[in-house]
Symmetry: C2
Subunit: 188 residues, 2 copies
Amino acid sequence: MTFDDLLRNRRSIRNFQQKDVPLETIKEIIKDSCLAPSASNGQPCNFIIIKNRDMMEKISAECKKNLLNDFADSPGPMKERYEAILQDEKFNIFYNAPSVVYVVGSPDVDSLDVDCALAVGYLMFSAAQRGLGTCWIGFGTNIRDPKIKEEIGLPDNYSIVAPLIIGYPQLIPAPLERHDPRILQIIS
Amino acid sequence: MTFDDLLRNRRSIRNFQQKDVPLETIKEIIKDSCLAPSASNGQPCNFIIIKNRDMMEKISAECKKNLLNDFADSPGPMKERYEAILQDEKFNIFYNAPSVVYVVGSPDVDSLDVDCALAVGYLMFSAAQRGLGTCWIGFGTNIRDPKIKEEIGLPDNYSIVAPLIIGYPQLIPAPLERHDPRILQIIS
């Protein structure tokens, strides 16, 4: 597949076939993501692979609970936009995907967020190249229960940068609208 | 070019031909980068294109001065690693590239850093696809002089996420070593 095809056809996928993604495929995609550049070649990304629906359900419930508590403490646009869906018991933040990869690392690394985000971009393309769909699930960062952190092997002092769901797309949505690039200034 | 070629052959480039990159090409690459996903489709990236060597020299001097002052105030591993090179008057932080694109935005957007980093990943691939080399220049974020900010059109309340140099490679380095992916846990 050419990069141009990937660039124009990659979508965020929230609707998956109930088909398993082989562990080896996920490992290959993660390996590709490690080709992303990082500040001073620090390579600070760590990965947790979850292919267990019970665990994904548990994490979804934990994140929903924490988000709804946050909304109660400090209402705002996030509450208005997402409270109703998070209150829906049937809503799973991972959209019933068969797997999720957590990209995590030490917040002592100043560039952790951007280094991991670059790796996630690679993950998305590498997955799309294999006919897989992904979506960065921001809600999924809200794991606070130390027991769950321990169960998934997340070191207590680590930050979650990105939970990325991976599966075979059932439905590929139309592209979301993009505004024209906002170029503030050109100095020639 | 296939994505796999790009994935394996993209390098961070610090050695450029003295050949201009047409403004239209830079605009096309920026437009491609806007296809990157962003949290809630917020599209918070803004761009500043600088193709003027005097201005790039001025920004380089500004960033070097600020970094050296920072090192004097709080010594640490960054000082040890980079002080000597930054003290070299001949060193230009942009490696004499013919152009730099600044990716900037409002820090009021929580996801600004990761959204812009995803867009930068697209920028890098879109440039590589056109035979262009790029490098994320972390040093280039250290612009503090309000006059320079004004000259380049950077709103006072905006953060610089990424300065990305763009040019035709003179020398393509060997790949940097990567450690094996650090997979902390697999839950099947």
